[in-house]
Symmetry: C3
């Protein structure tokens, strides 16, 4: 449990870093605006999951360490700004790691609430992508959901993969690590080979 908690804080910081970088390229250019967007990006998905489930108190309201992770992320983004923009591949891996961890943690939390597995997978995906969606809505971007690359769908597939492993009785930590690797691998392959989902309207 301790390792998972540390991973959650690290994932939060990764999301804050990516939020700060996106914010600074767009509308919010001062320290306050960038921090605000980093904060929304990091806590938006988990907050939406908890509000939909009725799980109170929200994680970041209960545990001030989440705030410290976000602030650390913003400072890191500021110090290593040039470096981070240059090594976009590193950032891409960090972001995908954040998505992967939030997906599985969110799915687990929803399962603990006794919801249907399909709903749990949606909650896992929401945890991982909704922070970015809210960020995009606030900064007037096309939400990340609807860009061409696979993003939310891979999170959703990872949640289903995890639930499948649980279903066949795999040990929890094994399921956790395998599902994270699954999401990482699929996303790397999807971006490398520019995979896209079939266009709607195929049946017509």
């Amino acid at each position: 449990m301790k390792i998972q908690y540390i991973l959650e804080l690290v994932g939060t910081a990764f999301f804050a870093i990516s939020g700060a970088l996106v914010a600074n390229e767009k509308s919010a250019k001062d320290w306050f605006g960038v921090t605000f967007i980093a904060f929304i990006t990091a806590i938006g998905g988990g907050s939406m999951r908890d509000i939909l489930l009725g799980s109170y108190p929200l994680v970041w309201i209960k545990d001030i360490n989440i705030m410290y992770s976000i602030m650390a992320g913003v400072v890191v983004a500021s110090i290593f700004y040039g470096y981070l923009l240059k090594f976009r591949k590193t950032m891409f891996l960090f972001d995908t790691l954040g998505v992967a961890m939030f997906t599985i943690i969110g799915t687990e939390k929803a399962i603990a609430f006794g919801v249907n597995p399909l709903i749990a997978a949606i909650m896992g995906m929401f945890s991982a992508v909704m922070g970015g969606v809210i960020r995009d809505v606030l900064t007037n971007e096309t939400p990340i959901l609807f860009r061409k690359e696979l993003y939310a769908s891979i999170s959703f597939a990872g949640a289903l993969f995890y639930l499948g492993l649980e279903y066949i009785g795999a040990i929890r930590n094994v399921s956790f690590i395998l599902s994270i690797l699954f999401i990482l691998a699929v996303r790397v392959v999807a971006v490398k080979y520019k995979l896209t989902f079939p266009h709607f309207r195929r049946f017509t």
Copy 2:
């Protein structure tokens, strides 16, 4: 009660169909994005109502049949895509039926929470229109609320009409059917004669 439940599932499917069609004309073009938007359109309004009222668990989280209705709606939208776009008048009637049913069901639910009738009417309107509003925000459209045609206002008027019937002691099923017919009739007349609300600032 059984008939109302079936109506609710049918209304959900209608909203999913209209969400899928709108999504496909705009930003989300693949199966995943279209399904996502159909889902948001169908559950957004009811979820907002329940979150504002503090009514947990949310309907679609408790009852997996809502998800099946949405998926059925997306498949129907795909199979009958050309047909549905061609017969826009049919779609318009289905959409208005969905709005009417969600308005009355939402108003009833709020009344059961013991809120002021004015608040209940707002909750009925939110149930019916907020899914579409969230869809429009996510796809960068002008929210349906602010387009010229009467839409949310007719839902609100229908909720007040229902509450008026309840107030004078009408039998519940009679109020339900009369209010649905009221919303349908007013909307058909409003669109046919291009009725609009008086412009703000009249008093100046």
Copy 3:
């Protein structure tokens, strides 16, 4: 307590007035749309705070006087429309007063929930600015958060100022009035001298 309640209703009406004026300049031009936007502007921030804290029932659902304040604000906006647009400085003071009062009331409410002071300051800021942010998202404006002028940051600073006074043991009513004056003064100075926050990326 009585005076604070009256101030809250007055603050709500101020927010409704400013919401109605903004709405009428933009997308929503009829009475219904303008009232809807005024309503969202007035109740959005407090609702978000209460939903995040899990504080039910929401204030405006419990107390119908909030609705009457909003309606009064819309009527006032309509009658004095020309006057209000002409005397933008008066409006600016009213808006800042609304922001100040909502900030402190929201911070107090969060503290009463036993959250960390940093979280309480965020909740105070959310109470004051999120109604305007939601309004801007719905009307396709750049959210007020990211415009150049200091706005949310002054609300946040005011909340911290209030918490500092509480920390050193100041009498509550004194803290309340001093914090309101602090927010007013800082905002007037910030706008007069066009103060802005330091640009992000300073460390690079």
